[in-house]
């Protein structure tokens, strides 16, 4: 049963990726939504970022004592200045490691 579940999940995941490229979707639909497509990578990835950086407790978001948030701010600045994925990840990760290991707010 586990194998069947894995295969079905794989099949549906592939369908999600393939259907728009299959050519079976009506062509008239596409020009109507085209102007919004440039936002897709931003609006899909941003929620993952926000939720990954947030510390929740009883539906309250904690800002202080959240080293991920501070490190993310450093990473944003690094991304703006360097526009380089490797440098941004390295600086963000380094600052997080330093803060979480050496700071006690």
């Amino acid at each position: 049963m586990t194998w069947l579940t894995i295969v079905l999940c794989g099949f549906f995941t592939f369908l999600m990726r393939f259907i728009p490229l299959s050519g079976i979707m009506p062509k008239k639909l596409y020009p109507n939504i085209k102007p919004s497509l440039e936002y897709i990578p931003l609006v899909v990835l941003t929620p993952i970022i926000f939720n990954g950086l947030s510390v929740f407790e009883n539906n309250i978001i904690f800002v202080t004592e959240n080293f991920k948030l501070y490190s993310a701010i450093i990473a944003v600045l690094a991304a703006i200045v360097f526009n380089n994925v490797l440098i941004t990840i390295t600086l963000g990760m380094l600052s997080f490691l330093l803060m979480s290991n050496f700071l006690n707010i």
């Binding site: 049963m1 586990t2 194998w3 579940t5 894995i6 295969v7 079905l8 999940c9 794989g10 549906f12 995941t13 999600m16 990726r17 393939f18 259907i19 728009p20 490229l21 299959s22 050519g23 596409y30 939504i33 102007p35 919004s36 497509l37 440039e38 936002y39 897709i40 990578p41 931003l42 609006v43 899909v44 990835l45 941003t46 929620p47 993952i48 970022i49 926000f50 939720n51 990954g52 950086l53 947030s54 539906n59 978001i61 991920k68 490190s71 993310a72 990473a75 944003v76 991304a79 703006i80 526009n83 380089n84 994925v85 490797l86 941004t88 990840i89 390295t90 963000g92 990760m93 997080f96």
Partner: protein
């Protein structure tokens, strides 16, 4: 620029993201084994589903004895964003032969898409763009399989500094910040991020989809502000 140069460019541009992907894959491998899956199931799932976050959700659900419909619905909801990725690449890929579209659709995951869409948007008239996505996709695929295998072999001996909850958002942050280049993209990002926090308690990971819709809507209605720039 020939196809090999573009293919290699895709590989090289994808490599830095493996800093985030590899630990993620290791953690998946460990979690899969701990959830009771066999090493073969754990390993092959990375090829069959090939979708990081959804695989982690899969092992969480399977370890809590969830039913097949619940698992299927959850995985499909999480991976529904790939539909949007694919849709945004329609113009670039629809004229390719079916075998190319099948291969590239299979490889169209978060990190491969995030890197290649920048190239696609920058050079929309380049007829060899498929090789870039092939490069990013195959790099990610190889890395993901190796990371999964490492996690399976490691078992519970995960280094403490590998914080999955931070590495993944950090990776995406590095990708999207340079893409915020107008008022409407800024508002799209802000609205999708904030609404995702509001929708967080929804089941089936629907917050990703709903926040994406909010962001799309806000981006679309604030496009007028871009024209005044």
């Amino acid at each position: 620029m020939n196809k090999w140069i573009i293919f290699r460019q895709g590989i090289l541009e994808e490599l830095p993201l493996q800093l985030g992907v590899f630990p993620f894959g290791i953690i998946y491998g460990i979690m899969a084994i701990e959830s009771g899956l066999t090493p073969l199931q754990s390993f092959l799932m990375s090829s069959i589903i090939f979708g990081g976050a959804s695989q982690i959700v899969f092992v969480q659900l399977i370890s809590s004895s969830s039913s097949i419909p619940i698992i299927l619905t959850s995985i499909t909801a999480i991976n529904s964003r790939h539909f949007l990725y694919s849709l945004s690449m329609y113009d670039f890929l629809i004229k390719l032969k079916l075998k190319w579209r099948i291969i590239l659709a299979y490889l169209l995951t978060d990190e491969a898409y995030a890197v290649s869409i920048r190239k696609f948007m920058k050079e929309p008239n380049n007829s060899l763009l498929r090789y870039h996505l092939l490069g990013t996709g195959l790099t990610l695929f190889t890395s993901w399989q190796m990371a999964t295998l490492t996690g399976i072999l490691l078992g519970g001996n995960l280094p403490q500094f590998l914080d999955l909850n931070f590495i993944i958002p950090l990776t995406f942050l590095a990708i999207i910040v340079p893409m915020i280049n107008s008022i409407s993209t800024f508002f799209a990002v802000l609205s999708s991020g904030l609404s995702s926090l509001y929708f967080k308690n929804l089941e089936l990971s629907l917050w990703i989809l709903l926040a994406g819709i909010v962001g799309l809507f806000v981006g679309f209605i604030t496009r007028k502000l871009d024209k005044k720039e």
